[in-house]
Symmetry: C2
Subunit: 491 residues, 2 copies
């Protein structure tokens, strides 16, 4: 039997080359059991005419499928589904669903229901996306990333791509971090004191699991990165949220019975405050006094375009008290999921064993690609390009915000990629954000960053890492207009 | 000042093209602070002569560094370290280490000290590597994997590479699994019932965390995959290890108070036993009777070259009682870290929220690359090629083992990539494995797979996924000889 030519369609939204699409169509037909062994494919001429593509495109797709033994060729009589093509087994389908499980009982631990920030999946279609922490195609050095990724796919790197590292990491990446990245933060560390993680989130989670249990107490900043609060509540439960001021976390407010302090000295998340040197010393003194550990999320230090960054808190730590968390996902792209942590060897050893139980290791290919991107200097070059652009955007933000009389609650003296904003008392920024969608403006309501029952609702965050400078004035204008509207309703 | 040409060396073991190596050398010199702004690079002619490479290679490296603004060119006078090149800050180094932390107190939870199997890092240099679960360069379709990876790095896939999926997955990969992979295991699932994980290990860990707590009890197979036992002991503590027989886990031995049963019906790990249909029904009945959940690790079903695989246990599950775990890392390569789990929506929702807290999501690029590799039919083609080769190796294994009078304790009627072996009573296979290293033979001692205090020491596993068929007879001969030697010492 011949397979009818009109069962083939090119999807209008399909990705990849035409040849790949045709190959995929046929492979899927075979794999799903629609095309059977011995059936004849349409001639390349016929299929090409039907799809409106060149004949050579179809022929190349057929040839590829021949090589994979999905098709056989019988000389001039054409192409047929091969005898060796995979045959999907025909099982009776799963019995009709009449599930009997009582899920409220079967689920022993719940992880849903926490604070999450909803990022609209279609944010790229917004005209004024003041979104935080997404990659800007105009800023990311995609071409060189690709080159490094392709190099890491090469024959010479076969082992680093495919190997089961068990609990180890790519030695090339670890060496680069030890020799180049950390010294610039004032940190000296041996490879045994470094662990590669699946982004900063994974590092924070590992640190919390190793350093906390039900009897221990954690201190966090308020407001703070909501996902940190969620993971602490989930793995521990005893969390004190300490209100930050313009210099970040005030050490004197840390309770005596605190075991682990989570802090973001470089750029407080989300207020962007930078902790001054005198307070860093005071924080270390306080931690020593109560014998607490410190987890330092060295958040966005790369984006210091207004002033040179201060060295990390970890650089002042002679006790081995500070666990340092860094991330490449922030300055490259969040989908990378690559970060690292630095701490004394006994700590890293436990974190490594835990990581191995949970996920073994971050995929070898992304580790090697990052190692190349860093060691060839592309990373630094990109940071500098990004900084120049972010500086322009930052100035546009400040000008527009001043022009419209909006209030910056925290701006970050070193730079960063966002501003922490305060709307007038009484404005609900969740409602504000919702209303702004109709104006094609995306802003992030600040409520989720706060802890406790009485959370301020009049804060919002404006990211400027994904919006062009020339769109900023109009975007800010729309926000100002929306706030006035809300106020007039409210007064 | 000019940078001396003799500070440049090509490392004999360096990876990448000569151009990339030169570029890397110079970038590292700048990033580490050895080369300073304004310093003159050696002329391309001089450096080329010194390194013994062509002049164009050096010129291309310089041009690339020019584009990244690490170097500037002053017409005919040559290349200089740019004013805009990154300058490493000079911080006072971390104070000398006199760590004051009492780590025995600071570490709240310990994860080290469990059973691990030591895979020698240099196993590729062994002449007879009976290692389990590593990629064989001769079997893995590296060329097509590369093509798919490059396609996934393309402009059209920018969002899937870079985006923060938060708690979501690549829709293309999920769709392929739902439409093609699962139906072949007899499973029907909607996208909301599928979660992508960082390998099977990550899936098992997530399932354990969601379904177990301190009051609940898990049942595992004995022997079993040691990393599963470790993660259960770590996250729960109440684990009953049930001795398997030639048909896998005997349902009648499952204690009444069991909450979750972990099983490997397709190929019991490590004995490779396949659970027959009648026992699968009995297992489901037993689980229903005591209202227990089942986590099915559908381990190595792809490697069924001796007989067609049975459908998954999940395909018989009308209750929603079975959580299904699958993996691509096993049949592609372990460094991929890509697996998936299938379960009822309330379960997947919790597992997804937990995954998001721990690591957010598996990197977008590997998800998209796998989606292409699968949908273009390369995966199935590779499985078939692998199966043909594994079958040859399996026959060589069986012939050599019979010839030398060794004993197969479990062989797997459907295929697989390893044999579970029993040495004579009294032989310590840990010592056997150690002694065989001198013969360039790697085998895996079986002790770590067993639970409890009195573990049999006379079992070992022989993987044949990374050893050529023509090396097998000699490798087996050496094992037989070593066993005789051990026996003569012992008797």
């Amino acid at each position: 039997m011949a397979i009818a030519v009109d069962t083939f369609f090119l999807k209008p939204d399909a990705q990849g080359t035409l040849q790949a699409q045709i190959q995929q169509m046929i492979a899927e037909g075979i794999l799903s059991g629609r095309f059977h062994t011995g059936e004849k494919l349409p001639s390349s001429r016929k299929l090409a005419a039907h799809l409106g593509v060149s004949r050579i495109t179809v022929t190349l797709a057929y040839t590829e499928l021949l090589a994979n033994d999905y098709l056989t060729s019988r000389g001039r009589s054409g192409y047929f589904v091969s005898e060796n093509a995979p045959v999907p087994p025909s099982y009776t389908p799963t019995p009709a669903r009449g599930e009997t499980i009582d899920w409220s009982r079967a689920i022993a631990r719940r992880f849903t229901g926490g604070d999450v920030l909803h990022k609209p999946a279609d944010w790229r279609s917004y005209r004024y996306p003041f979104i935080y922490g997404q990659a800007d195609p105009d800023l990311f050095d995609h071409a060189n990333w690709r080159l490094c990724a392709v190099r890491a796919l090469g024959q010479k790197d076969f082992a680093s791509l495919t190997a089961d590292y068990v609990d180890q990491d790519d030695p090339l990446l670890v060496e680069f971090i030890a020799r180049n990245t950390l010294p610039r933060r004032g940190i000296t560390a041996r490879p045994e004191e470094i662990l590669i993680t699946l982004g900063a989130q994974n590092a924070l989670w590992l640190a919390a699991r190793v350093l906390l249990n039900r009897r221990r107490k954690a201190a966090i900043e308020d407001p703070c990165y909501y996902a940190l609060r969620e993971l602490l509540l989930q793995s521990n439960g005893n969390v004190a949220a300490l209100r930050v001021d313009q210099d970040g976390l005030p050490p004197e407010t840390i309770p005596d019975d605190t075991d682990v302090i989570f802090t973001t000295p470089s750029h407080q998340s989300p207020t962007t405050a930078t902790m001054p040197g005198w307070r860093r010393m005071a924080l270390l003194d306080r931690a020593r006094e109560i014998d607490a550990m410190i987890v330092e999320d060295d958040y966005e230090f790369e984006m210091s375009f207004l002033r040179a960054p201060s060295p990390a808190l970890k650089s002042l730590d002679g006790d081995g008290r500070v666990i340092y968390v860094g991330s490449f996902s922030k300055s490259l792209f969040p989908g990378l999921r690559l970060g690292y942590m630095v701490g004394s060897e006994p700590f890293i050893r436990e974190a490594r064993a835990l990581r191995s139980l949970v996920l073994r290791h971050p995929p070898g290919h992304i580790q090697r690609t990052a190692a190349y991107f860093l060691s060839l200097g592309h990373y630094d070059a990109q940071i500098r390009r990004m900084s120049a652009t972010l500086m322009k955007r930052r100035h546009a933000m400040e000008a527009a915000i001043a022009g419209h009389g909006l209030t910056i609650a925290g701006g970050g003296v070193f730079g960063g990629s966002s501003l922490w904003m305060r709307a007038p008392e009484g404005i609900d920024c969740g409602r504000l954000a919702h209303g702004l969608r109709a104006d094609s403006v995306h802003i992030e309501p600040g409520e989720a960053f706060f802890s406790g029952p009485d959370r301020p609702r009049n804060f919002y965050r404006l990211g400027y890492s994904s919006i062009h400078a020339d769109r900023i004035p109009q975007g800010i204008e729309r926000i100002a207009r929306a706030i006035s509207r809300e106020q007039s309703v409210w007064t």
